[in-house]
Amino acid sequence: MAGYALRIAKVTGWGYREIMEDLPFAAGLQIIHADDYVNGVERRWTRNERAGSFDSLAIIEEAFSKL
């Protein structure tokens, strides 16, 4: 977790609270992925399936409920 916080701090310049308590962890991981990408470091998603286990119907309904 310390390595994660340090990487995000280097990229964003944010403080401890923003990184540890405000930034969604999934977003932080993607920031690290993006930072490596722009610096020519290749990473691959550990999961990149077409059929992940999530409820697509629920997501669609949620999106429509916000309209």
Partner: protein, 134 residues
């Protein structure tokens, strides 16, 4: 890349990553759950909420997830690094809140959703990737 190319999210995990970038607070049952940030992940990992190493059932793990995401942080900090005390606090939370089976389902779905966003956003260096030295 063509300027006119329409970007389409083709894989389910791409959708989850998109969701993960903007994952915010959400309501589940009677509880307003905070986003899952590094602090919450660390607390869940330490107490075996994600990978069960306490021998706890779904009710307890789901309630622990709800407790970590909804109770005041100062209250959680007071017990989170002491497993026995944390288990006691979650038991107390269950007693006070008495979640119904439909609420447990909602909380469980929220827990799975957050885990899916997290797992689909994690990546590893390829064999050709060079370490950034961090």
């Amino acid at each position: 890349m063509s300027k006119n190319k329409i970007e389409v999210l083709e894989r389910d995990d791409e959708v989850l990553r998109e969701q993960g970038m903007t994952s915010g607070s959400r309501k589940a049952g009677r509880w307003e759950l905070r986003p899952t940030c590094a602090t919450e992940v660390s607390w869940m990992q330490f107490n075996g909420v994600i990978v069960d190493d306490n021998g706890m059932d779904v009710l307890w793990r789901t309630s622990a997830f709800a407790y970590i995401h909804s109770a005041p942080k100062s209250e959680i900090r007071a017990c989170v690094r002491d497993r026995a005390q944390f288990i006691e606090e979650v038991d107390e939370w269950i007693g006070e809140n008495d979640p119904s089976s439909s609420e447990i389902k909602e909380l469980s779905s929220a827990l799975n959703g957050r885990m899916n966003e997290w797992f689909s956003s994690s990546s590893e260096l390829t064999s050709s990737g060079q370490s950034s030295g961090n």
